[in-house]
């Protein structure tokens, strides 16, 4: 079964590494994906603040386009946490509130589209664990991430409030994958705490503070790097570390990678194909990682 792939706006720019590594990993795991043709913005967060019904219409267009592709049961792979939430929210509201449904249906019809509610919105974590399975992932591991201590960070919108594939308070799918890759995972209480989201761009003081809290706690618990599943989380946590250093005294640099990049690494794929060259804070030396034995290097 082919998954309809919805990258979302971030994955074409700041989150390009996510886009590249996800595609590579899917190829390696033989997960067929096909990018949704002419997809549009999901209608997420900021949009919702201006016009809610149009936000639903935006999501509905994507869902309608996706539904057209599948034969009654389209599986849509949505890696960006904000898009995942935005599309899911639209899906739920269309189901729960007939008034919204009626309005959106009419608008879709005006655009020559229709959506009957049969698209399943799935995050890659969900697909990798539920559909592909840890065995298949394990079988693909060529260079285990032995000795690498990973803090899995889900951020907020991935598990709240709509995800069903994992626990809202203590999600573990990413940990499962990291363990399969041979890495060690740390237990920490902030894996679903907000990174500051778009506030980093608007009210920098506040946004940075939130990201800083997460990074220091990961450091305190001995993490070598933070694994993320959301382009905005990755951007916030990684790209502002210099500023956090100055403002709050963040101690050193913490690599922040997409979980898909780490999967690719363990599968033995090239740094470039995984977009690792796009990172601001380089990952611990590959050689050291592959050699195992805990010879991890701090960035």
């Amino acid at each position: 079964m082919t998954y309809v792939y919805f990258p979302g706006c971030s994955l074409t720019s700041t989150g390009r590494g996510y886009h590249e590594s996800l595609q590579e990993v899917c190829r390696a795991l033989e997960v067929p994906i096909q990018e949704l043709e002419d997809w549009n913005c999901c209608g997420a967060t900021s949009y919702m603040a201006v016009d809610e019904s149009k936000a639903f219409a935006l999501s509905a267009r994507n869902l309608a386009l996706a539904e057209r592709l599948g034969n009654g049961s389209t599986q849509m792979m949505v890696p960006c946490a904000a898009c995942y939430l935005g599309l899911n929210k639209a899906q739920h509201y269309l189901q729960e509130f007939p008034a919204i449904r009626g309005k959106v249906d009419k608008a879709l019809a005006a655009a020559g589209l229709a959506y009957s509610g049969r698209v399943q919105i799935r995050h890659p974590l969900d697909i990798f664990i539920k559909d592909i399975g840890r065995d298949k992932i394990a079988a693909r591991v060529a260079k285990p991430l032995a000795g690498l201590k990973v803090a899995c960070y889900y951020g907020c919108q991935l598990v709240r409030p709509y995800a069903e594939f994992d626990d809202q308070h203590n999600p573990t799918t990413m940990e499962t994958i990291m363990t399969v890759l041979g890495a060690e995972v740390i237990d920490w209480p902030l894996k679903t705490r907000c990174c500051g989201g778009s506030l980093t761009g608007t009210i920098e003081d506040v946004g940075l503070r939130l990201s800083y809290i997460i990074l220091t706690e990961a450091q305190k618990r001995g993490a070598d790097l933070v694994a993320t599943a959301c382009p905005l989380c990755q951007f916030n946590l990684e790209c502002y570390q210099g500023k956090m250093n100055g403002r709050f005294g963040l101690n050193g640099k913490v690599p922040v990678a997409y979980f898909t990049q780490l999967m690719g690494l363990a599968f033995g794929l090239s740094n470039k194909s995984l977009g690792l060259n796009r990172l601001f804070v380089p990952l611990p030396e590959r050689r050291a990682v592959a050699a195992g034995g805990g010879a991890h290097v701090r960035g």
Partner: protein, 206 residues
């Protein structure tokens, strides 16, 4: 944020909007708002409440009591990062995040949000760029936001922008979908629907 005083400490009934609460509660599933027991869970779980002028719980209380002017002009909603912690944890299942959105929308509609505060500006810039092209282009979005709020800040961000560009994480072109006409038909129909609803007096939603 140079508020030395929240508002006149005595609040006269004439200064309140008695319909404000029910209006906000008319969003889908919003009726639960009226069942708030003021337990403060929302504020307690909120990662941003330390930076807000009113805690989310206070906002809910103020909405119910009709403190419209204060709520619409407060910074609280614009600090909400939509992390949904409050929505998930609320023991009364109030969709607090959606309440925050409703307040934001009403504030934008009535033009009473804190001026030159970056978040509402970002929201409307985002809205307009998607409206035009169907997608958001992160680089241009930020540029426009800084221009409208604090142009000097943009200079400070120039280094970050350069670094992103160098790593291929920020383009200079504008992202757009192909079938913009389709999208515009969709939007126009949606606007017509909303207008019709308002005319029919059904649309009480902000």
């Amino acid at each position: 944020m140079e508020k030395w005083q929240g508002w006149d400490k005595i609040q006269y009934e004439a200064g309140l909007d008695p319909h404000f609460g029910t209006k906000i509660a008319s969003i889908p599933g919003g009726d639960k708002l009226l069942a708030c027991i003021q337990c403060g869970t929302c504020s307690g779980v909120c990662p941003l409440s330390p930076y807000m002028d009113y805690t989310p719980r206070q906002i809910v209380a103020m909405i119910r009591a009709g403190f419209k002017a204060e709520v619409l002009s407060s910074y609280t909603t614009w600090l909400c990062a939509s992390c949904y912690s409050c929505t998930v944890e609320c023991p009364k299942e109030i969709k607090i995040t959606d309440v925050m959105y409703a307040v934001k929308r009403m504030a934008i509609q009535e033009g009473v949000y804190p001026k030159r505060f970056p978040t509402p500006v970002l929201a409307s810039e985002f809205f307009h760029s998607v409206e035009k092209t169907g997608r958001s282009t992160e680089s241009w979005l930020l540029v426009r936001m800084y221009l409208k709020t604090n142009p000097f800040k943009m200079l400070k961000q120039a280094m970050l922008g350069f670094n992103l560009w160098r790593r291929g994480r920020m383009g200079v072109g504008v992202e757009s979908i192909k079938r913009k006409d389709e999208l515009h038909r969709l939007f126009t129909a949606m606007e017509n629907e909303t207008r019709a609803e308002r005319r029919a007096g059904q649309e009480v939603r902000p």
